[in-house]
Symmetry: C3
Amino acid sequence: MWIQRDIPLGTRARGFHLVTREVLSALPELGQISVGLLHLLIGHTSASLALNENASADVRHDFESWFDEAVPERASYWTHTLEGPDDMPAHVKAALLGSSLSLPVRDGALALGTWQGIYLGEHRDRASARTLTATLWGE
Amino acid sequence: MWIQRDIPLGTRARGFHLVTREVLSALPELGQISVGLLHLLIGHTSASLALNENASADVRHDFESWFDEAVPERASYWTHTLEGPDDMPAHVKAALLGSSLSLPVRDGALALGTWQGIYLGEHRDRASARTLTATLWGE
Amino acid sequence: MWIQRDIPLGTRARGFHLVTREVLSALPELGQISVGLLHLLIGHTSASLALNENASADVRHDFESWFDEAVPERASYWTHTLEGPDDMPAHVKAALLGSSLSLPVRDGALALGTWQGIYLGEHRDRASARTLTATLWGE
């Protein structure tokens, strides 16, 4: 059984956002899979997907602080500055966090840890809408 | 052919640990798969999985040094400090390294490079036991 | 349908390189898959795979600058220095970026975003040839 579908995500502010519920509601067939995998790709180079703490909003806030400190805008070594000071840092942040997730499915649900949720990292100041490509397979 | 199983890992000290042997010994069915994949998820938000050098213990030691330098405790930008100074850095380290691995299976064995082993990154000072969810499929 | 194949990549200079075309030309069967996944593993611990901007060479140049700044050679905390000052930084860069990619296949082609290409990160000064293990499955 294979399901593949694009999932449009609304435009979001720069920062980290929990999107687990939004992803699952676009994939009702997941409930029929007893064992399988869900693969998600974000088809953009300045946004990212990660798995992390799903409870405290301040964890997501601190993610943004650390990444802004570690990948600074206006550093002297940037040469690709044509698209704004946030562009090149956005590319690096996206590569550090990654563009895709593979998640196990068990008994019709994602088999994540209790505290794990899906993060969308929006790394541009003025993002456009983002789209995920979801691929679900199993039996 | 699908196999899915939780693999309990013992509690480990903060740092990086090779767990390849432990993972493989929990998956005897891998020996019957001629081509496939093994997916591993660590169901926690302050520990990570990575693939790196399987020979020198000092490589794993230096991983810990670099990550402690790059994601410092007690930095002024942390706001999520309720669970201790090592908590928020642990979340960031886990996201940088990642929570899952997908590994090719060939002729009944993992098709890794000669020097590649599976690292468990334990990023808390006082961790509890960690569990992997392994999903194996192929033919 | 399962295809698994090693793809030898030529030796490349230290830095980030686009290898999308090279990978695809080694996998003609991908054109026959209507829905599936392609998994790529780089079987080395000092080189990496990532997905990022496929147009501007200066983006790849700036990736190299950021990683060299963030993971410095000759830092006082390195103990694994026997294989040269670029060795331990190469291991850390490889772990930050990752050793594998999972990419969706749709209608006989990779379902990537318009601007996404496959990056090979070569993190050693004097690399040897690198090999990918490609695993392709779907229907």
